[in-house]
Amino acid sequence: MINKIVSSPAEAVADIFDGALIMISGFGEAGSPIELIHALIDQGAKNLTIVSNNTGSGHVGLAALIEHKRVKKMICSFPRTANSTVFPDLYSKGEIELELVPQGTLAERIRAGGAGIPAFFTPSSVNTPLADGKELREFEGVPYVMEFGIKADFSLVKCEAADRYGNLIYNKTARNFGPIMCTAAETTIVQAKRLVELGDIDPECVVTPGIFVKKVVGVNNPADESQLIADERNYPWN
């Protein structure tokens, strides 16, 4: 029998190893799997490379993971956000690496990694410093830059509802990078606000087919990151 549901965030992230490449869903706080990230902080894996659009805010979630020096390198499009001080501080001290990728190229690289496409050409970033050192090529007289698919060891993703097969739906703009990150990891770990029965999700409306998911954990009342930041909370909890 197929049952991808595990009982706790701790169990879900237990196998993550030092040096892993991990994709983390979310655009700002929307879609950020904060309970899985906190479980990863507790778990202790270090020397991680993280692919995520931002670098977290305040001292919780992704920012806390970075603050605890578990992250060697960030691959992201926008490492500055409101209330984001942890990454900028470490970066300016030279204590964390940054690979800056245009947001659409980041999305396409993740999608390509999941789809078995090792490389593709895109017009984005041509004639800019972000194309420096990359292979350029013209198609029909227009220049493009070659970019590589990215694959992860693990993806940590937040969704709205999941069933035991790992079929997922998302909530509004919290969908963002989740569906493509699910496809691109060897092991995709999902936190779901609701666990539902097989068939409860309309087969026409499944966003992530279960084939892309390995483990699901129910987190009924996920933390509100903005609220934690307003309350000046730190993880581990102060």
């Binding site: 029998m1 197929i2 990694g113 789809a115 078995g116 496409i117 087969p203 087919p209 084939i211 892309f212």
Partner: protein
């Protein structure tokens, strides 16, 4: 099934059953058109297997009753099917993301020829004037983690389908893991073709006599 006339070897159904035994619980499986489709009937008790059909469904169920047939619910062979509880529909690019991205565990295919190196030819006989048609075969052999071939051991005119080199145009190179024929189950390994099991009333001498390539017992 001319080789079976003296009760030698397995029936089509038994071959499908042998394949089904090698599909683990929880596997995502794509079944090719024809004999591979029989495999779905023999999933051992207690195992849950999810079938992918490349035209956009994960969770293909059994053939529907006549009254429940929907022309918009078909499999890759364009036959009427059903969807199981927990199924989902998606478009072709997402479907081949599953295939090319190595998300499907097992694909069971028919073949014209399989070589000692695991090359497979199953899309074109290369005859001049024939209409070539490839479908998803090349994507499946390039992308699915494990490729099983189910086929009669010999052609209707007695030629070995297991060959030193495929003479038909290739579908993929070095991709086949195991060959399930009416005579034997044969694992394709780096150092040769290993006979794992032989069918009823088949001995190694008989099997080798019907095979172009030296087999290893």
């Amino acid at each position: 099934m001319e080789l079976n006339e003296n009760n030698i070897g397995w029936s089509r159904e038994e071959m499908a059953q042998k394949v089904a035994l090698d599909i683990p619980d929880g596997a995502y499986v794509n079944l090719g058109i024809g004999m591979p489709e029989l495999v779905a009937d023999y999933v051992p008790e207690g195992r849950e297997v999810i079938y992918h059909t490349e035209n956009g469904l994960l969770g293909m169920g059994p053939v529907p009753e006549e009254s429940e047939k929907d022309p918009e619910l078909i499999n890759a062979g364009k036959k009427h099917i059903t969807a199981i509880k927990g199924a989902c529909f998606f478009h072709h690019a997402d479907s081949f993301t599953m295939i090319r991205g190595k998300h499907i565990d097992i694909c069971v295919l028919g073949a014209f020829q399989v070589s000692v190196d695991g090359d497979i030819a199953n899309w074109s006989t290369g005859k001049p004037g024939a209409i070539p048609a490839v479908g998803g075969a090349m994507d499946l052999v390039a992308g699915v983690k494990r490729i099983f071939v189910i086929t009669q051991h010999n052609t209707k005119d007695g030629k070995s389908k297991i060959v030193n080199n495929c003479t038909y145009p290739l579908t993929g190179k070095g991709v086949v893991e195991t060959i399930y024929t009416d005579l034997a189950i044969i694992d394709v390994k780096k150092d040769g073709l290993f006979v794992r099991e032989m069918g009823p009333n088949v001995n190694f001498e008989y099997l080798q006599k019907h095979t172009e390539v030296p087999l290893i017992q």
